[in-house]
Each structure stands twice: as structure tokens, then as C-alpha cells.
Amino acid sequence: MRFLALVLANLGRKKIRTTLTIGSFAVALFLFGLLAAIRGAFNQGVEVAGADRLVVINRVSIIQPLPVAYRDRLLRVPGVKAVTYASWFGGIYQDERNFFPQFAVDPETWRVMYPEYVVPDSQWAAFMKDRQGCIAGEATAKRFGWKIGDRIPIKGSYLQGMWEFNLRGIYRGARPDDDNTQFWFRREYLEENGPAWFKGSVGWYVVRIADPDDAAKVVAAVDKGFANSPWETKTETEKGFAASFAKQVGNIEFLVLTIGGVVFFTLLLVTGNTMAIAVRERVGELAVLKTVGFSDALVLRLVLGESLAVALVGGAIGILAAKGGSPGLSGLLPGMAVYLPGRDLAVGLALALLVGLLAGALPAVSAMRLKVVEALRRV
């Protein structure tokens, strides 16, 4: 701390240059923060997938249904503890841009399978009593200004007609990464009002297993059990299922890593150059510091300290701005909750400090190796 005044004074000698360098960090970290938030939105399901849950879909594709009768057979597979199921609805609320995922669920078993989605008991009881009842995620309810008791009309897509629901509850994910955009309604309503070909079928099953270590065994047993049937199954862990679902959009991870990598590399070059100029400009002063007794290691730490201070201030400004601004992207990514998790915020700051450290390393080493006598001659 006793050298802080010296570090700050050195940063203050070229205010415009320091401000611009801090600005470079801020912009880079802002971009990183937004990209991380977008990546997080696409990987939301992957991050929060239950380790003890499997997803069973039709082997042909997820849009092909499975018989509802599979439920009892799945429950008999050794290692399976509970089973629920759901169907994709894909309706349109007012406008096609108002996308949010809608599932027809089995109300008896859905809540037990997903305890992380918290619904007050009274609301769940109201949902169970109303065949047209529905439950919306907090984010979706907030997005459209829905309140409990509201009548919600949704136009069917592959299932024709206008479907009307009564909002009986609003759920909230227990963890920050939980998806709060889903819309659930009772499967009976769909069964009774849907076309004949839809009756007796479900979109997919979710299976809870007794021991996550047995996942591979249970996956094999399930798929083997339905092999050579008209509706063969493809079973995956929930994490694997969510990951392959996210990949359908494109390789977001690769995109984020590539753009982020280019930005950070450019930042490294810009900051490294700035720090090198800053050190070169005051070779004489560094020599004076060494003359009065500052050790080589201390001079190295002082130069690195300047670089790290710039990285920390610029990085913090950028990443905090991204945290504040990322929810604004939700409008561009319908159905996704876009926000910057605390973990990515910490990663961003760590990356900024790493770039600061690397950018300052070469100039700091050259300052450390400075020969006092030669440097004083240049003054």
C-alpha cells in the first residue's frame, strides 16, 4: 500500500492515454460480458440439468411422439425411481415474436420431478382443480404483465385453434440459472381438445434414476427395452439432451470463444504497447528509483501494478456495465433469460487481470533489467 501513491501518480501522468487504455479494457470486458450472457442463455438447460434425470425421446426425432403407455414400462426398468412426461405445444401468444416454451405436462408427476421450480402450494392446488389451468414462469409472466387469474389465449400451431388458459400459478427457479420462461398446462386439456392422432401420445419422458452413477446402465436398459418396437427410444442424460438441443441453434460456444479470443488478444497487444511506451518514456526515473535503493523486483512489481490497476478498473467498468446491460438482450432472444451470472463476472475480471499481467510483463521485465548507469546517461 505504501507504493500506491507512486503507482497512481504514474498512471496520472498521461491522463488521456490512461483513460483510453482503461476504455479499451472496459469495451473488451463489456463485449465479453454480453457474449458470456448470450452463451449462458443458450446453455441455460445444460448448466442446471439434473444429474439424476434422463430424457427419453423418439429415436427418429424429438418431434415424433411416444406412447403414453411407456410410462408404466419405464417405471419397471431397474434403477428408475420416477417418471413424468410432457408434450411440446408451440403456440403463438398474440404475435409470433412473443415466443416462450409451452409444455402440456402431467400435473401429478411434473412438480415432483422438478422441485427446483418453486410454486406456492395454494397456486399448485388451484392448478390441479382447473383443467384449463396453467402455470407460467416468473420471467414470462413479467414480460407480458400477467397476473394470477388472467385468461391467456394462445393460438395453436401444429394443433389448430385458439386455446384458452387460466393462469393459476407463477413459478420461480430456485437457482439463478433456472429457466423462468416456461409455460405449463395440463395434458388432459390437450388430450381432450386435440386431434385424434394426438391422443395417447406424449412428446418425451423425463426419468429420475436412483443413482446418477448408474445413468449409463439405465440409458442402455431403457433403449434396449423399446428396441424393435414401432416407437424406439433414444435416451440421454438431461445434460446431454440440453446440450444437443442448444447445438441445434449453432455452435454458440465456438462463436463466443472465437470473438472473445480475438478481442482479448487485440487488447493484449494494445495494452502491451501502451505499457512499453510508458516504461520507455521514464527510463531515467526508473533508474533514479533503483539508485535510491528500489530493488529490481520492486521495480518489476511497480510496473506490473500499474498494468494491473488499469486492467482492474477498466475490466470492472466493462463487466459491470455488461451485467447491467445484458438483461436488455432478452428482447432480442425471445424465450431466453439473458443475464450475466456471478461466475462469468468473476471469470471476466480474472481474464482482465491476466491480460493486464501479460501486457505488463515484458515492459516490467525490461524495467527490472534496466542498467542504472546506462539509463542515467540518457537523462
Partner: protein, 239 residues
Amino acid sequence: MVRVDGKGGGPGLVRVRNLDKKYQRGSEELHVLQGLNLDVDKGEFVAFMGPSGSGKTTLLNLLGGLDVPTAGSISVAGDEITSMSSSRLTAWRARHVGFVFQMYNLIPVLTGFQNVELPLLLTKLSKSERRAHVETVLGLVGLSDRSGHYPRQLSGGQEQRVAIARAIVTDPTFLLCDEPTGDLDRRSADEIMELIDRLVHEHGKTVLMVTHDPRAAQRAHSVLHLDKGTLVESAESAV
């Protein structure tokens, strides 16, 4: 007492024996110091004179542990500095040497107070103790009222006084002054020399000074000329 014949046997403060310094400049080898001897007692004020390139500053750098000799030995207050590692030499310098340069060499982004405080940052002194030391030496050089000024806000003479305050704030064993009046007008130069005089006579400081200025050299107890890489005693000051 100052001797240059290498026969001083007492417990002198500075003892230099057979000092050699060679430089390589391109293909040419410059033999700047050749078998130089010097003995300086505590409290002495010695001036080194000689033409440009005669090795005065090189000698000062060697005495201050900023450079290493090609051969020979230097001991200061019993410490053989020519055998010290670079890091030990740095620590020794912080404790024993105060440097005053021709161009003052203050850090422009620090105030006078902060410049003087710099060497104390390397000590274990608390903030209040450092403040007390800095205020004392700024008072000594007559700049108490200018401690908050940046170097650009001071005259050349004032800058040099801040530099002297920085050099003495740790109470070093000796001061090495390289042309301390070389960049100053006559009046400021006289003020600086009076200040150095006071440090020697009132505070018992040992000062080794390189100068081109005969008036400045007159104030020294001994004036030594560098000639062909060795020292020759040329005069004894009456001051």
C-alpha cells in the same frame, strides 16, 4: 584525511585499492580508471575535477555501487562492496549512499514531499515517522513551505534542494554529488554549495563531489584531479 597513494592504513570511511575500469566501445577498449587508490575519512568533503571523459562520474558510480569495477576493491565503512551481489548492493545503497545529480532527477509526478519520501518507503518507518523525517530535512534545506509543489513548480535551485533533501533523508553514510551546480545560475549554485557546506560542517556529513566549477571545488577540504585514470591531489581547501 584524504590520500591517493594507497598507503592510508587507518579506519577510513572509504578505501579504494587498485581500481580499474574498462569500457568496450565498439572495437575500442577504453581504460578509464587505472589502478586508482583513494582513502577518505568520515566528515571529509572531497571534490573531483578533471576534463570531460576523464572518468569522474565513473568513479562516483563505482563508489556508489551503481557500477562494478573491472578490477580492484572498494570498501565503505568496512563493507567490501565490490564483492556484493546486485540485490545486496541495492540494499546497501539504500542504507549508505545519498545521490545528488546535476539534473536533479526528481520524479515529475510526485510532489517535493513525495520525492523526498521515496527512499523512506523502503524502510520500516510508519507513515507518521516518515512524515516527521521528510519535514525535518525539508526544513533543513529551507523548503518547508514548498513541500506540496511539483518539480515543475520549483526553480532549478529549489529542485536541487529537494534532491539534496531526498539524498539525506535516510541519513546515509556519505553523499555522492555529480555536478550539483552544473545546471544552476551562479546565485543558485552558491546557495547549493552553502547547503552542502552546512551538511559537512554542521551535520558531519561525508561528501564526495564531482565538479567542473572551481568555485564549487574551493569549498571542499580536498580537490583531486583525475589524470590518466588515476587521482592526483592538487590542492587543500582553506575553507
